[in-house]
């Protein structure tokens, strides 16, 4: 086995030159850092779990309005371990968004977005957008009543995005209306275009991070540790813990497939968006019809886009990684948590 120190003469070790690899990894040192620095790695594992489970679900899923929901019911009801694999896919997708947001949040609070790490920050932002795209397109695929509703309302809200709204609306629907083309379009993006783009961007992101070894600006003289074994053992522990959480949820917390979509039925009463849109959903629901002379929902979407732009431009707006940014991030997080809690009551 190649894991044991000094066993370079093992069969595999001799063939891959393990001794040389180990020597290089032990000579390289990284900062000794707290748990929040492992969130990026956790996100990576969750993406790999999505790819693995997604490829399996794809063997039985049928991207056709007449068959999609029935094929999903067959996956969770008949195919051996189909419910487990589909649960892994559904749960890791939620955990992936969670760990992405947590990863981003800790980067903001530490001020690690500032120069010279702009490229790490922007490639990370692009990954966030693409992963939300994966979650949006994935949620359409079950073609249940909820999926149909979410496709309608989600794309309608996208229409209010300033300047590109009409294009985005048309693009997300794969046409002017939510129809079979919407499912077809979402499917292609979900299983091919977006995963390929995310994979490429992950490499780019890691490359940028690696080139600018992401120690926080505040502890440049922090203690370091060798990549092997200290760092990799910690990374492996974080991955193992993540895997245990995913499997526990997938085994004990069944995800519903809903009922097949029928566009003739009135929408579900009290339907809610995925958890990461709950805060926004609640604000749209309680907002007056008119805000500053603008349609309420349009105003709120434009405001959110403004916040998004400010977040992207953060390395330019706050060049020093100031305390104020960290406080604002905390306030935003707490406000979202409160609003989401309200939305559930």
């Amino acid at each position: 086995m190649m894991g044991t120190d000094g066993q370079g003469s093992s069969w595999l070790g001799a063939r891959i030159g393990w001794d040389a690899i180990r020597a290089t990894l032990s000579a390289q040192r990284v900062a000794r850092r707290n748990f929040s620095h492992f969130l990026g790695g956790i996100t990576l594992l969750l993406f790999l779990l999505e790819v693995g489970s997604g490829v399996l679900v794809l063997l039985y899923y049928r991207p056709d309005v007449a068959q999609a929901h029935a094929s999903l019911e067959r996956i969770v009801g008949e195919v051996p371990y189909g419910d487990l694999i589909r649960n892994v896919h559904a749960w890791s997708s939620d955990l992936l968004v969670l760990s992405l947001v947590a990863h981003m949040f800790t980067v903001v609070v530490r001020g690690s977005f500032r120069s010279p790490r702009e490229l790490s920050w922007w490639s990370g932002q692009a990954l966030l957008v693409l992963c939300i795209g994966l979650a949006f397109t994935g949620a359409i695929l079950p073609w249940s009543q909820e999926a149909y509703l979410q496709a309608r309302v989600g794309s309608e809200l996208a229409r209010y995005v300033p300047f590109v709204g009409n294009w985005l609306h048309h693009f997300l629907r794969g046409g002017d209306e939510v129809t079979s083309s919407t499912l077809q379009h979402a499917f292609g993006f979900h299983v091919a275009a977006l995963p390929a783009a995310v994979t490429a961007l992950i490499f780019l992101h890691l490359f940028f991070v690696q080139r600018r070894a992401a120690t926080t600006p505040r502890d440049d003289d922090a203690p370091t540790m060798p990549v092997y074994p200290d760092f990799l053992v910690r990374q492996a522990a974080a991955w193992t813990a993540t895997f245990v959480v995913v499997m526990t949820l997938a085994i004990f917390a069944q995800r519903s497939v809903g009922v097949a979509a029928d566009p003739r039925l009135p929408s579900v009463v009290g339907a809610r968006p995925p958890w990461y849109f709950l805060a926004f959903h609640h604000v749209v629901r309680v907002a007056p019809r008119d805000l500053l002379g603008m349609d309420g929902a349009r105003f709120l979407v434009a405001a959110m886009c403004g916040v998004g732009l400010a977040v992207v431009a953060l390395p330019l707006l706050d060049r020093r990684g100031s305390r104020l940014t960290a406080y604002l991030a905390w306030i935003f997080l707490l406000a979202c948590a409160l609003l989401s809690a309200y939305a559930l009551t």
């Binding site: 509703l149 309608r152 309302v153 794309s155 309608e156 809200l157 048309h170 693009f171 629907r173 794969g174 046409g175 002017d176 209306e177 129809t179 079979s180 083309s181 379009h185 566009p263 003739r264 039925l265 009135p266 929408s267 579900v268 009463v269 009290g270 339907a271 749209v284 629901r285 019809r289 349609d295 309420g296 929902a297």
Partner: protein, 147 residues
Amino acid sequence: MSNDDRAPTAPRRDFLGMAVGASATAVAAAIGYPVARFVEPRPMPSSGPTLVGKVEDFALGTGKTVLVDEKPVLLLRSADGHFRAFSAICTHLQCVVGYSAERNQIECPCHKGVYSVEGVNIAGPPPRPLEELVVSVREGSVIVSEA
């Protein structure tokens, strides 16, 4: 000419750099433009007037939702047998509305929007009346077409 022709002079290197950059841009555009046009969703051709059923399929004084070009359309039949058709898509955030026989009105479950049986928004967030479609009855068949 310099006698070391393996190391290009600065202007020559600039020129080569520009040529490589321009070719790369041209290749990217030649690939990118057709791909972008291909990905752009196609307009859905409307199938024109659609037969949605026989007159007997629609009871007097009720509403029933049918699909026209995959879009939900609410057909209301009044007590005296007269038909009206509305797009069943709420003008607020596009949920699907339904007819309530109990309250004789059209209701949107998402944010409690209410429309009259004339399709006029009367309560809740909807900003506009429902879009109306044209219904005609020919030889006992009910046909819906866009206005």
